[in-house]
Symmetry: C2
Subunit: 339 residues, 2 copies
């Protein structure tokens, strides 16, 4: 049995899609229990209209909501009855094995750090989504927005955490780590990249590939890409933006003439396959790595199925013992350093 | 008459495509003269096999080549007979009005700075390509790789230079400037973005839009996006990478079944239109802004037509008096600051 705490009020489509997604996940995975953190009465009502296995559901009363418009750190400290706080607290207290929220990135991060706590040896927990690649298997991007100004040693920790995730959750035997950079040559980069390169190259626990240009990030040449959260966010969102632009123009083009409309009907299944391949919802949300619990930050615009995927991901993080592996690697790294 | 100096040895497809591109440009624009900087004998031979108007062609003997594998700064200082150096020197000496090279970014930048010189008041010249947008009109990204570590005042100068280009070359009446950031809210960002925001907001000559997320960079909401060269390079290249990934998977999908192959034939014209719309070769290369001459850095992989586009762009930079406008804005800004 794996117990997943779910933030009922996080995201644009809460609470309905959260409930629907959680129940979808329960149907798919018979070994999970869901702990809904939200206003008890409201959650009860919402559940009443939806068939579900009552024995595998619990509610933790959490009537408050943290909005995108307040300071995440202050909100996490003051709104102790907020759904996101209660979700994290359930993990801290050992009532849940994992937490899933689609609340704001800042609040999810602050919640993970201040309510659950960091793994010993980790300076900065990081947000790490998976992206689709040309090779088929996904690549982890760490960090993608939690830490906008980084020191080289943070990036080394990101590398260790990313490797642990790809091994434990994605079953990759020897995940390769690339450093996001503006050129493939060893000496390229800004101050941060240049200082980080030798640390990654010489680290006994990191399987370092070298620099990776943004152009090659989605080729599948590495399984983990490390970068500061500013650069990672630019990479993540410009990929999204380019995809939107291209698919939008493609649609316009296909609807522009009778000939192309007929053709569009014929290529529809192929286009649907393309959309599925590019859809990174299937991998869940962004893992919050570096805290002493499995936490998944789902996309703010998640619909029910995306929530279900995020819950599946949280379950796999628990099963893959990601937190333990990270903690183990960090203490091994500390041991090496002490030698 | 506008005289364009062309680096015969820059880029992967030199010298043949350089020659072909330059002659294509001469056919298209009867008012340009081309000064080929390369080994005199070789250029003569290459020209002999290609019909052209001899009266509009000159050769400057420049037998040396700067490769991608040497230090750009050292090469620029030592290889005084290199094609790239002679190209820049022609502008400095007033023999040419503009320079076009597809040599390495570092060498083009060093050449512009050390052989031509910076505009008074500009700390760091910047590389600025144009990208296609959903709105149809392109957006300028400045800087995209020349300056990987920036101070806030550099980004303000990028904004002034970008505006000058979009007005002078692209004919945009009031170009809006956005600051590349990880969120749209005013207070978002890393240290650099947070320090730059108020400078752009309060600048009397900058038409500031606010922060722009990478996801929205290609929507067309602004005409100039300013950022440090590291972030700009990530944005530029991840857009390229995403486009490659999507168009590659699209092609695979279209060839995956007989049904989709038939459809593909019907949608071919529409797809070709898409490819043209996304093709930023049409806008030329990246302008090197902030030096006292019109310099265009063409993509290293440019084929003949891309060179022709880069030459057209260089011509428009001369005609649009981009250098004068930038110099004028900088002294106006300095005057404002002195008040």
């Amino acid at each position: 049995m794996i117990r997943i705490a779910v933030d009922v009020y996080g995201g644009d489509n809460a609470p309905d899609c959260v409930l629907d997604g959680a129940l979808e996940a329960m149907r798919e995975m018979p070994d999970i229990h869901v702990i809904f953190c939200g206003a008890q009465e409201e959650v009860r009502k919402l559940l009443a209209g939806r068939p579900h296995d009552e024995a595998r559901v619990r509610i933790i009363d959490a009537p408050d909501v943290i909005t995108n418009h307040e300071s995440p750190t202050l909100a996490i400290r003051r709104k102790l009855n907020a759904s996101l706080v209660k979700t994290m607290d359930a993990v801290k207290a050992g009532e849940a094995d994992a937490a899933v929220t689609a609340g704001s990135t800042g609040a999810a991060l602050a919640g993970g750090i201040f309510r659950i706590g960091r793994i010993r040896g980790i300076n900065r927990p990081a947000l790490a989504p998976l992206l689709p690649t040309a090779a088929g298997k996904p690549v982890m991007l760490i960090d993608c927005g939690a830490n906008v100004d980084c020191k080289p040693e943070y990036l080394v920790q990101f590398a260790l955490m990313g490797q642990a995730y790809m091994r434990g959750v994605m079953g990759v035997d020897k995940p390769k780590v690339g450093l996001l950079n503006i050129g493939a040559e060893d000496e390229k980069g800004n101050d941060l990249a240049k200082s980080t390169f030798p640390l990654l190259r010489d680290h006994p626990l990191v399987d370092f590939y070298g620099n990776v240009e943004a152009r090659d990030a989605l080729t599948g040449c590495v399984q983990v890409i490390v970068c500061d959260g500013f650069a990672g966010n630019i990479l993540l969102k410009s990929t999204e933006g380019a995809a939107q632009l291209i698919l939008g123009k493609l649609k316009d083009g296909l609807l522009s003439s009778t000939r192309s409309k007929v053709g569009a009907l014929l290529v529809k299944p192929a286009l649907k396959g393309l959309k599925n391949e590019l859809d990174y919802e299937q991998y869940g949300g962004a893992a919050l790595l570096g805290v002493t619990g499995a936490v998944v930050k789902a996309h703010g615009s998640s619909k029910a199925h995306a929530y279900a995927c995020a819950i599946r991901q949280a379950r796999t993080m628990v099963e893959g013992k990601v937190v333990d592996i990270i903690a183990g690697q960090l203490s091994a790294a500390a041991g090496d350093a002490a030698k």
